[in-house]
């Protein structure tokens, strides 16, 4: 057989991977190598595979992903800083047949929005919550976040995070996994092809869960913010692996459905 030319390979029938049809043509505004782009694409791929474009509603946060509605071609709502799970709750309760997800950074989800986060999961809302933990406030210029590592230099911790002054990094995903309303709580990353595949599976499972009314599905994605960290994207992935994974280990924390509280159900008070 004659040597295969590129033109023989690059044909529509040989295509095995490409941009999801649910992604719009708008170029992403993110910095080069930003994890947000990978997670957006995985959400779009899952929506495409489950064929739920018309039934899916996203709630965008305040943070770098504030304009997420420009990129995934579904219905969207924009929430005030930290309030995405509350807005998602309202939408889902009024439209229980819809697939509703919130998408938030660590500043949004684990600082200003801690109350909304905890209570949405504790109520066992049938929503998907996606949490991008890049250990910093990306949008506002790389300030310290609740999830910033001990010793990590940020623009507001120039000598490194000091627990005596700044307190400890918050493992909010571990806290949420303890709540009875949680169905599925997992921590993923998207820095290697294998991790991208695993993260996509997790997102798919979360969306499938939300149709089954079994409680909240929560996915943390340990992520990079190379601009905020002031290193290049490849070095950022390496820093994340070496410094964040020991404290934020990947894997499932809960996989099932919301707890049954029947054994704690009390008798009515007699008048």
């Amino acid at each position: 057989m004659a040597e295969l030319q590129l033109a023989d390979i690059i044909k529509p029938e040989n295509k095995v991977y490409g941009k999801s049809k649910i992604m719009t043509d708008t170029p992403l505004h993110y910095c080069y190598g930003c994890s947000h782009g990978v997670v957006h694409k995985l959400i779009a791929e899952v929506i495409e595979e489950l064929d739920i474009q018309e039934e899916t509603v996203g709630v965008a946060p305040v943070g770098c992903s504030v304009m997420m509605y420009n990129y995934i071609d579904i219905d969207w709502m924009e929430a005030a800083h930290g309030r995405a799970p509350a807005v998602a709750t309202g939408y889902k309760r009024v439209n229980p047949k819809k697939y509703v997800f919130s998408y938030q950074g660590d500043g949004d989800l684990a600082a200003i929005g801690t109350a909304e986060t905890m209570h949405a999961v504790n109520r066992g809302e049938n929503i998907v919550m996606i949490f991008i933990n890049n250990a910093t406030y990306g949008m506002t210029g790389g300030q310290m976040a609740p999830t910033t590592m001990v010793g990590q230099v940020t623009s507001t911790s120039p000598y490194g995070r000091n627990v005596d002054i700044n307190g400890y990094p918050l493992r909010i995903t571990e806290l949420l996994a303890m709540l009875p309303g949680a169905a599925y709580v997992t921590r993923q990353s998207v820095h290697t092809p294998a991790n991208v595949r695993k993260c996509k599976k997790a997102i798919r499972k979360a969306f499938e869960n939300s149709a089954k009314n079994i409680g909240t599905s929560f996915i943390e994605v340990v992520s990079t913010c190379n601009s905020g960290w002031k290193i290049d994207p490849v070095a950022a992935n390496q820093w994340m692996e070496e410094n964040m994974f020991p404290f934020y280990p990947l894997g499932d924390l809960k996989d099932g459905e919301r707890d049954s509280f029947e054994q704690f159900s009390v008798q009515k008070l007699k008048k």
Binding site: G18, Y32, N237
Partner: protein, 79 residues
């Protein structure tokens, strides 16, 4: 017996030159071009196209969905 050959097409205007696809490629197919696109990014391209196996690793890690991957099975004649 069949051998797998692949090829990728990078949307050079959408590429931001982050290098993540380059390091994710197990066959060292990709590299950043010395030319830049209209936004000033050194875009990714196939430096050694003959080595591509169409594994999709590059596409998976690309944050900007710039990469389309193609793959064919090439029959290998046996003696």
């Amino acid at each position: 017996m069949a051998k797998v050959r692949g090829a990728v097409v990078v949307d050079q205007e959408c590429c931001k030159g982050c290098n993540l696809c380059v390091v994710a490629c197990p066959e060292n197919v990709l590299g950043l071009h010395k030319e830049v696109n209209s936004k000033g990014y050194h875009y990714s391209h196939m430096v050694s196209p003959e080595n591509c196996i169409g594994c999709m690793n590059c596409g998976m890690v690309c944050p900007d969905s710039c990469i389309t991957v193609y793959r064919v099975k090439v029959p290998v004649e046996q003696d």
